[in-house]
Structure formats: C-alpha cells, structure tokens
C-alpha cells in the first residue's frame, strides 16, 4: 500500500536523471557538468580513497558533532523545561538564532582551530544544536497539562512526571530532531572540510575541483547524499517500530 505512494516520486527523479544525462551529453563539458553515468563511474574508480580515508574522516566529524549536539541539546531542553527563567531567557534567543546563517561563520572556525577536526565539529555542532534543543523542548512541552495534573492526583513527584510522562511524550520529537539534524550535520562537516582540512569528502571534492575533474567533484557529494539518506531511513524505520502513537497525544 505504502510503497505505491513513492512511485510518482521515483519516476520523477528518474526522469530528471535522464534529462540531466542527455542535457550534459549535449553540453559536452564533463569538467564542469558531468553526466550521472560519468559520476557513478568516477565514484567506482575513486572507491579506494573515498571509502577508506575520506568517508571515515567525514563520518567522524559528523558523529562527534552530532553526539555533542544531542548531549547539549537534551541537557538544555531539560533545563528550560524545569526552570521557567531559563526558558524565558534562552528560548527566544534560540528561535532567533536559527535565522543566522551559521555556515557563513565556518571560515572563522577554520581560523581558530585550523585544519584539525575541531573546526569541522564546531560547524556541525553549531548547525544542529539549536534545532535539536528547540524540537526536544517542544517535545517535553507536548505532555498535556491534563496529563500532568492526572499524574499529580496519583501522587507523582516531578521526577516521575518527567520519566513516565514527559520523556515518552518527547520521544517522537527526538526522532524528528534526528531526521532533521543528520543531513544538516553531514552538510556542516562537509562545509568545514571544504574550507580547511586534510581529509574528508568535502576536502576531496574541493581537491577534485582544483583539478577540473567535474565527476570527481560530484562523486563525494553523491556519496554524502546517499549516506545521509541511508541513515535517515534507518532512523525512520526505528521510529516506525518504536513510535506507534504519533499524533495520538
């Protein structure tokens, strides 16, 4: 039933790829506009450095950055939920800060941390931390006042209300936050690498650009997108298995 829903999208994507393929063949300038087939071919040729060196480097930045964001985001969301003053002070700032193009600050971090992974990690954290925090906070707040009151009539303390009510209520929001944050964190890491690194898919893409290897520029980007899609679909799968109540609250 569900699978058929994706069919129009698949056909559309395939059609776009075919247009790209023939368009690029007509333009005939592979160094700036390679065809999809050329990119796949290049991906295969470059599999050795891409998969053994650059993909692990990017994934390390992404992983560390995401982990820091989750830990900080969860902590801050809980603090804002517990202390009204913290909420009043921080929440509006968080919302406003999301309009800042954080990625534009990336060169600054490269200046501060140089070519180490920390400049990339910082970009990743800065991009993902705020949306994770805000989404989780909304999740904790999605527990209805009625339900909190009911818990009080059972004699529950704040600790029990948190673990038995707020946390489960926030779980669907956690998954939404992850699905949003993972592609963002990969983009963040790649931008950081693009600006200054000695390894990683962003760095590799840039190196290929200097060699006017169009397909070589695209290959790592295709790889990044594929990885992001795979991780997001794993998360979606887990979400479907674990969260059967979305929207019931």
């Amino acid at each position: 039933m569900r699978k058929n829903n994706n069919l129009p999208a698949l056909i559309f994507t395939f059609a776009l790829l075919i247009i790209w393929q023939f368009g690029a063949m007509k333009v005939n300038a592979a160094y700036i506009l390679p065809t999809p087939l050329q990119i796949i071919k290049r991906l295969w040729e470059l599999r050795e450095p891409l998969f053994t060196a650059h993909l692990p480097a990017t994934m390390t930045c992404t992983g560390i950055g995401l982990l820091i964001s989750i830990v900080l985001g969860v902590a801050l969301a809980i603090i804002m939920d517990m202390f009204p003053l913290a909420e009043k002070t921080l929440y509006p700032v968080m919302i406003a800060s999301q309009t800042i193009p954080t990625t534009a600050l990336a060169p600054l971090f490269v200046m501060w941390f140089g070519y180490t992974i920390w400049s990339k990690v910082l970009v990743t954290v800065l991009i993902t931390f705020f949306p994770i925090t805000v989404t989780l906070f909304d999740g904790l707040r999605s527990a209805k006042t009625d339900m909190i009151d009911l818990m009080h009539t059972f004699g529950a303390n704040d600790y029990e209300i948190f673990f038995k009510l707020k946390l489960p209520a926030a779980l669907p929001y956690f998954f939404s936050a992850m699905k949003m944050a993972i592609p963002m964190s990969i983009i963040g890491a790649a931008i950081g690498e693009w600006l200054g690194a000695t390894a990683g898919l962003g760095y590799f893409s840039r190196r290929m650009m200097t060699q006017l290897d169009g397909a070589g520029v695209f290959a790592p980007i295709v790889l990044l997108s594929a990885i992001a899609m795979i991780i997001v679909s794993i998360i979606s799968y887990l979400e479907k298995k674990l969260i059967t109540w979305r929207g019931d609250l």
């Binding site: 009625d146 009539t153 004699g155 029990e160 038995k164 059967t244």
Partner: protein, 252 residues
C-alpha cells in the same frame, strides 16, 4: 466521607470568587451527582478536592481528616480518558500503582487482570489505547481510577464525549460497578437525566459564586433501569432541576 467546611476559592487571574464559604457533606457509599451549567465551577470543586488547586479559606475533609499532607484519598477520572498512548492498556492501569509503590510487579499484573475483567475488558491488557473504542477507553480510564485504591471516586463528566447509545450503556455499566465496589462516587454532569438515572442525591449549583449546593434526594431506589426515569416523581424533579439550571445559565 467528604466534607467541605466554609471553603472559598478564587482563581488568581479572576477578581471574583468562584466559591464562597461553601459547605456540604457526602456520606460514605453515596452516589452523588453535581449538576450545573458549563463554566459554573464544577471541575473547580474537583480540582480543589484532589489538591490541584488550593483553597483560600476553609477546609476539606475526607474521612474526617483534612486533606493537607495526604495522598491517595481520592481517585480522579477526568472527562478525557488521558490514557497514555505509548503504554498498553495494562501498563496504563498499572500507572497509579507504580507511583504508589505498594505492590510488587506480580501483584500489579494480577490486579490489572482482575480489574479489567470487572470492567468488561478482559484480555485487552496488551492492546494500545488507540485500538479501543470510545466507550472501552472510558472503561479503561475508570479501571485505572479504581486501581488508585481510593474509596472516594471523582468522575468529571466521564461520558459526555460519547455518543448517545454508548453513553446510556456506560451509565448502566457504571451503576453495576458502583453497586459492586461500594465506593463513594461524586459525579459531575451537566445532563439532568444522567444525574437522575445514576445518583441517590443530586447537588445543584444554583448561584454564582457558589455559596451552597442545593440537595435533592432522587425518589427512586436501586437497582434501577431506564423505566425508572419515567416515574411521575422523577419527571417532576427533572423539570424542577432543568428550570434551576436555566436560571443559573443566564447568570454566567
């Protein structure tokens, strides 16, 4: 069982009192309905009894003891079932016991099983609330209220969201439950017929702010059936109550 002694209350955001020196009394084992127009403060009375709100003056006693510093003296069933959607029916029913921590896991499972049987939901402990119908969900919520172990049950318009036929069968079901469990029930409704069918006594909110509850004995014994509602003395009480509510509704 339950006693209000000169209780006054006002919401912080309001400049008028909701309750003013209100006193009334409910005996053990009674089934009493409180009726009043929407927004007149019925739920506020319940919220005071279960300490979700604090009285400004006066005292509320349950079993001749002040409710201050006490827990577990009343079971509150709100209008919405508020079953947690991530818990199965069985886990939802365990919730009050998990918080009270007086029973072992095995005892809880056993109690859930027998309570589900009593309320007519046997074998459904592993279903998610979303798999139940509206009436079944209310039964599950009632079972959860029973499992608080309290002798005083506060039911706040529990059937008002159900369709008519489900509602009347739930009313009959509730009477069976009450006759078997020997609990004291305080039942809020704005439906005069529901109040007459269920209760031994009806308390009417007549005036705002609430200074007194006018008590009417329902002229009909238990067990009852729907025909009891058509007795002439029931019909005339019904008309009298509707008239009072109408007058009150104009005040809000």
């Amino acid at each position: 069982m339950l006693e209000f002694k000169d209780v006054s209350f006002k919401y912080d955001s309001d400049d008028y009192y909701m309750l003013e020196n209100l006193s009334f009394h409910i005996n053990k084992g009674e089934f009493v309905s409180v009726i009043g127009a929407s927004g007149c403060g019925k739920s506020t009375i319940f919220r005071l009894i279960c300490k979700l709100l604090e009285c400004e003056n006066g005292q509320i006693l349950v079993d001749n003891q002040s409710i201050d510093q006490r827990k577990g003296y009343c079971g509150y069933m709100p209008q919405k079932d508020l079953l947690f959607p991530w818990r199965t029916v069985g886990e939802n029913l365990k919730l009050p016991m998990q918080i009270q921590k007086t029973f072992t896991k095995e005892q809880m499972t056993e109690k859930v099983k027998s309570t589900l049987e009593k309320v007519g939901l046997s074998g459904l402990e592993n279903k998610k609330p979303s798999e139940l119908s509206g009436g079944m969900r209310q039964r599950a919520a009632f079972a959860r209220t029973l499992l608080t172990g309290s002798d005083l049950l506060l039911l706040d318009e529990p059937f008002s969201a159900l369709d008519f036929l489900t509602r009347i069968s739930m009313q009959e079901w509730l009477l069976e439950q009450w006759e078997r469990e020997h609990k004291t029930v305080l039942f809020i409704t704005h439906d005069v017929e529901e109040a007459l069918f269920l209760s031994g006594r009806v308390l009417v909110i007549e005036d705002l702010p609430i200074k007194k509850l006018v008590s009417f004995d329902v002229p009909c014994g238990y067990p009852r059936n729907r025909e009891s509602l058509t007795k002439p003395e029931m019909l005339s009480l019904r008309e009298q109550l509707i008239k009072m509510l109408r007058r009150e509704a104009n005040l809000i």
